[in-house]
């Protein structure tokens, strides 16, 4: 039997992993937001064929398990294109695709929730499509959009744990490494659960509070 050390002595490993997890999920959320906004808007206002294409994009990336996306982005792209993607880069690609599919749904729902009359009013004021979208419809949609986007962030943060399968030492992989060294599986994984729970619970509670505030502001 191996000697059992103390899991708590390895707190810098967990901290380092946690920083990487947060970094990765924030980058993916930002990139996913841009891509998801484009896809969502194209799905809502684009011409028929574009709409169909974007629906296909959303449906596809919503239906592929994150495990596959990480695998495909890391091993698949590396072997198929010869690009030497680092685990971090591959993880960003995988999670951006996933996040953008979720966010495009959120965007579509948010923009469709804006009353039809708002478009008519903007038109009556002589605003063209983009001007109306930017100054009239957009600001109203953004309020509806923020709470579910935070929900997407929680999902992305949780799914970032799959980056551990491509060798990125984020929080989950940090835990696996400590487990290999110390051997105390139960403590390690309960600690991981606790850390993920604390972050995600804090974020989703914040989202709820924000949602309540927006509701009153109307």
């Amino acid at each position: 039997m191996f000697t059992r050390g103390n899991v708590w002595e390895y707190w810098p490993v967990f901290l380092h992993g946690l920083v990487l997890t947060v970094e990765l999920s924030l980058i993916a959320l930002a990139a996913g937001f841009v891509l998801g906004m484009a896809v969502g808007l194209a799905r809502t206002y684009g011409p028929g064929p574009v709409r169909l294409l974007c629906t296909g994009f959303t449906e596809t990336f919503r239906s592929i398990p994150p495990l596959l996306l990480f695998f495909g982005a890391f091993y698949g792209l590396t072997y198929a294109t010869g690009l030497a993607l680092s685990p971090f880069q591959a993880s960003v690609i995988a999670m951006t695709l996933e996040a953008s599919a979720f966010i495009s749904e959120v965007v579509r729902a948010a923009f469709r929730s804006v009353d039809r009359g708002q478009w008519n009013a903007a038109q009556a004021l002589g605003l063209r499509f983009w001007a109306a979208l930017w100054t009239v419809i957009g600001p109203q949609a953004i309020r509806v959009l923020i709470p579910p986007t935070i929900g997407v962030y929680v999902a992305v943060l949780k799914d970032s744990s799959f980056a551990s399968i491509v060798g990125l030492v984020e929080l989950t992989r940090a835990g696996l490494l400590v487990r290999e060294t110390v051997g105390d599986s139960l403590t390690v994984f309960l600690l991981l659960s606790g850390i993920y729970f604390a972050i995600n619970f804090a974020i989703s509670s914040g989202a709820l509070a924000l949602e309540a505030r927006f509701r009153f502001a109307h």
Binding site: L67, F71, S161, L176, L186, F201
Partner: protein
């Protein structure tokens, strides 16, 4: 020079039906068991009994906020160390059940909140009592309302079942991992597995939409 070729992995196609079978089995067991668990959780959360409501809320928050993969590691490696040895299949099922029950209970709770109180009063005034009111008047209406969100939930469980590959259960994702690392045809095995997942999800969506339509027409 790399050339895309499905032919290079066609010798592994024979293993696909069994792998898809395991994915469906995992998802089906998890869905049925988690839904059965979700109903009392939702009921507890809506009940006036504070301790029950609080416990249910704690359960939902806890299991919604822990990544499935980490949950799987707790059950498979953590519990084994504590003396409870689960097989890899049942560890994966348990992770899926405990996670899905949290989500399903929220869907059910939202469903209950749409049923007007008058329905219960009307049922009682017609002479129905106790669980009859629930079983014959309230629940059928709840079921009808929750079909669309439940369809998304089913897809979520199906996708989530891919965690099982990490501990080698032999599901569709595991097929991809094994095929990729044996043939070095990572892109091909990824695309085949991804396509099958998309097809399975679409099939679930179509079935649930048909169920929803039938219910709507039945409701008139």
């Amino acid at each position: 020079m790399y050339q895309f070729s499905l032919y290079a992995i066609c010798q592994y196609f024979g293993l696909l039906p069994a792998a898809i079978g395991v994915t469906l089995e995992l998802s089906a067991i998890a869905l049925v068991a988690s839904t059965a668990l979700a109903l009392p959780i939702a009921k507890a959360r809506m009940s006036g009994w504070r301790i029950a409501a609080l416990t249910a809320r704690a359960y939902v928050e806890l299991f919604r906020n822990i990544p499935l993969l980490v949950l799987l590691y707790v059950y498979y490696f953590g519990l084994a160390e504590a003396g409870l040895h689960l097989s890899n299949f049942w560890a994966a099922v348990l992770a899926l059940i405990t996670n899905a029950a949290a989500y399903a209970s929220e869907i059910i709770r939202a469903g209950y909140s749409t049923i007007p109180l008058g329905q219960r009063e009307a049922a009682r005034s017609l002479g129905l009592r106790g669980w009859h009111v629930e079983a014959f008047v309230v629940l059928p209406q709840v079921v009808r309302v929750i079909i669309p969100p439940f369809a998304n939930h089913c897809i979520g469980v199906l996708i989530g079942s891919s965690i099982a590959a990490v501990i080698g259960v032999g599901d569709l994702s595991d097929w991809m991992l094994a095929t990729g690392s044996e043939s070095f045809r990572y892109m091909e095995s990824f695309l085949v597995a991804a396509l099958i997942y998309v097809a399975l999800c679409q099939a679930v969506a179509v079935m649930m939409a048909a169920l929803d339509r039938r219910n709507r027409t039945a409701a008139g």
